[in-house]
Symmetry: C2
Subunit: 354 residues, 2 copies
DNA sequence: TCTTTCCCTCAAAGCGCTTTGAAAGCCTTT
DNA sequence: AAAGGCTTTCAAAGCGCTTTGAGGGAAAGA
C-alpha cells in the first residue's frame, strides 16, 4: 500500500523495558528523564527524549495509574433515559470540559447510565479507579447522590445544586431563582399579569428553582403561578411547540411566557407565529439561553429576550476545579460558586397588550 | 448529617487483597468466582458475591487492564476547533455509542483535540493503552489517519469514508452520494433546474460526496452546479440563515436548495420566510436529517422533505462492531458497511415555479 | 593518597489484578 | 489399604509503570 509518509513506522507499541534496553539505560532513569526530575544528566535526558520521539513511546496509562494512583482523567455520567435523546445542553457543557482537559492532558471517561442506576454508575467509575475526579449533574431535590459522593474519597463537583440539602458540597451553579425572578419582574414592569412557564423536567433542581423565582416575583404583586400554567417537558423543539400551542389555547391566555431553553423557545415561537400572533406584541417571551452556538437568540426572527449564562464556561470551570483538586488533594476545598445570569432584553418582550 | 439510608457506608474502597483476608480465601479463588470460572464451589461463590455486595468491591480497572490487556473502553477524539462549538451531530452519535456501551459494561474515553493534532491524540490514546478500540470520524479526503490507524495494532472503525483511498479499512457510512443524487433527481423531476447547496465544511468527505451526488444527477440532464451555488459552513442555525439569504439575493435565484443538515435548514427556512417566500412553492428545499430528537423535520412549519439516516444508529452499530472486535480479535474483520438514506417527501418540495 | 561530597544511575519493591501450575482434600475404584 | 481421579483452593509470577534506597564514579577537600 505504499510507505507511510511519516517517520514513525512502528507496528509495535513499545514499553519502558524495551526502551531501556534500546538505550542501555535503566527504566528508572528513563522514567525520571521523562517526568522532569532534576537528577538526570542533560545529555541523557536529550537521548531519552529523542528515543521517545522515534519510537513513539507513551507510558502505559493503566500502569501509571497503578503506580501513582492518578489516572489523568475525570468522569461523568451520561444520563440515558430511553425516551430522551442526545442533549445539546450536555454536549455544550462537555465542550467546556474538553477545552480545559486538553490544556492539562486529561481525558474524560463517560459512563452512560439509566437515571435510576446513576448511583451504581458513579460507584463503578470511582471504586474501579477509572477516574481521579468526577462531576454530578441533573440534580434533583434532596438528591441522594450528594451524600454518596461525600462518603467516597474521590473529589467531585456538583453542577447545579440540590434543594433541601445543606450546601456543604462543592458546586458550580447558575442562580436560576434570581434569573427567573428578575425576568419576571421585568415582565411585571411591562404590565404583564398572566404568566406561563415552559419548564424542563419537573424533578430537576434547576426547573424547580426557576419556577420558584417566578413565584417569588409574582408574590410581591399578589399574583400566583397556577399549576396549569406550568409545563414540564424535555428540552426539545417539539415540546416547546406543543406547550406553547396549549398555552395559546387556554381560556385566559397568558401574555407572558418564560421558557427554560432556547431550544424550547424555538418550538414555542413557531406555535406563536402559526397562531397568527406577533411575538413581543401579542405575547412576550423570555427564554433562558445556555449560549448554544447552534441556536443564538439574537438570530430568531424576533430576537429573543433572554437570561443568559454560558454552559460551556461552566464546563470549563468545573474541569478546572476538578483538575486542581486532583493535582493538590490537600488544597482547601472551596465550596459553592453561584453565577449570575444576565437579563438581555431584545425584541420578544414588550408591553402587555391591553 | 444523619446516617446514610444505604447499606453501604464504606469510605474505603476495598481491594482484592482486603477482600481475600476478610473471607479467608485466596485472591485467586475470589477472582475466579467473580469472573465466572467453573472450578469454584457454588457455596463459595455465593459467599464471595455476598461479600462483594456488602463491601462494594469493584476490581480496579487499571490493574485489570494491566493483567488482561483489556481496558473495557473505546476511545474517541472530540474535535475542538476553537471557532466551532458543541456539535449536536457529535452528541447524537455519542448517544448511540452510549446505548451500546451500557449494554456491555464498556465506557468510553474522550480525548479532545485540535484538528491538526488528531493523529497525535489517537497515538496517545492507543499507545498509552487507554482504550481497546476507537473510532475515527470527520474524515477528509485522502485522510492520513487511516494509514496510521492501520499501522497500529488496535482495532478501529471509521465513521464515514475517505475519498481517494482504497476502501480496505473497516467503516460504517451513509451513502451520501446516492442520497443527494436521488434527492436531486426528485427535484429535477419536479422541474427544477437551478440548484444550490448549503453544505458542511468543504474538506470533509461527506460534504464532498454530497456535492458529487448532486453533480451526478445534474450531469445526466446536462446541468452543472456552479461553485457560487455551493457554500461550506459550520452546521449552525446562523450559517444556514446567512447562506440562504445569500442565495435568495443572487441574480439568477435557484429554485431548489439542498441542505446538509436540519440545523442548517432551520436558519435557511427562516431566511426564506423572512424574504416573504413560501417554502415548497417559491422555493423547494431538501435537508439531510440525522434524526436529531432536538429538531424534527416534520415539525417545521412547512414539514421538510429529507434524506434521512439515524446518526444514533450509526453510533450504536459502530460501538457494536468495536466491542465485538475487542471481544474476539481473531474474528474475520468485516469491512465497509454502506447505509442507504431514505428520501422522505414532505411539504418543502414542490413543482418548480414557472 | 585517602576521604568526603555530589551527581548520576540502578536494582528492586509495589500498585491490584489475572492466570498458570501445583497441591490438598475427598471420593471411587481395584 | 493403596492408587487413581475429581473438585476445589492456593502460592507465585507477571502486566508496565513509579519510587525508594543504595551504589558507583568523578570531582573536591584533607
Amino acid at each position: 500500500m505504499g510507505d507511510s509518509a511519516h517517520g514513525t513506522e512502528n507496528l509495535r507499541v513499545v514499553n519502558l523495558k524495551q526502551l531501556s534496553e534500546l538505550l542501555g539505560l535503566s527504566q528508572t532513569t528513563i522514567s525520571r528523564a521523562l517526568n522532569g526530575y532534576p537528577e538526570v544528566n542533560a545529555q541523557t535526558r536529550l537521548r531519552v527524549l529523542k528515543a521517545v520521539q522515534e519510537t513513539g513511546y507513551r507510558p502505559n496509562r493503566a500502569a501509571r495509574r497503578l503506580a501513582t494512583g492518578k489516572a489523568g482523567s475525570i468522569g461523568l455520567i451520561m444520563p440515558i433515559a430511553s425516551e430522551q435523546s442526545a442533549d445539546i445542553h450536555f454536549a455544550e457543557f462537555q465542550r467546556g470540559l474538553a477545552d480545559e482537559c486538553l490544556a492539562h492532558e486529561f481525558h474524560f471517561v463517560i459512563m452512560p447510565s439509566q437515571p435510576d442506576e446513576e448511583e451504581q454508575a458513579i460507584r463503578g467509575l470511582v471504586s474501579s479507579g477509572s477516574v481521579d475526579a468526577y462531576y454530578l449533574a441533573y440534580m434533583r431535590e434532596r438528591d441522594s447522590r450528594i451524600a454518596m459522593a461525600k462518603s467516597l474519597p474521590t473529589p467531585f463537583i456538583v453542577h447545579g445544586r440540590s434543594l433541601g440539602l445543606a450546601e456543604d458540597y462543592p458546586y458550580v451553579d447558575v442562580d436560576n431563582e434570581r434569573a427567573f425572578r428578575e425576568a419576571t419582574e421585568f415582565l411585571l414592569d411591562l404590565g404583564h399579569r398572566r404568566f406561563a412557564l415552559i419548564n424542563g423536567p419537573a424533578d430537576l433542581d434547576f426547573a424547580i428553582r426557576r419556577r420558584m423565582g417566578i413565584e417569588q416575583a409574582l408574590a410581591t404583586r399578589g399574583l400566583t403561578l397556577e399549576d396549569h400554567a406550568v409545563s414540564n417537558t424535555l428540552m426539545t423543539d417539539a415540546s416547546g411547540y406543543r406547550q406553547m400551542a396549549r398555552i395559546l389555547d387556554s381560556d385566559v391566555r397568558p401574555t407572558a411566557v418564560l421558557c427554560a431553553s432556547t431550544v424550547l423557545a424555538l418550538g414555542a415561537v413557531r406555535a406563536i407565529s402559526q397562531a397568527g400572533k406577533v411575538l413581543g406584541r401579542d405575547i412576550s417571551l423570555i427564554a433562558h439561553d445556555d449560549d448554544l452556538m447552534l441556536l443564538k437568540p439574537e438570530n430568531f426572527i424576533v430576537p429573543l429576550t433572554t437570561t443568559g449564562s454560558s454552559l460551556r464556561d461552566a464546563g470549563r470551570r468545573i474541569a478546572e476545579r476538578l483538575i486542581a483538586a486532583v493535582a493538590d488533594p490537600d488544597a482547601p476545598a472551596l465550596l459553592g460558586e453561584l453565577w449570575t445570569a444576565d437579563l438581555i432584553v431584545r425584541a420578544s418582550t414588550g408591553p402587555a397588550p391591553t
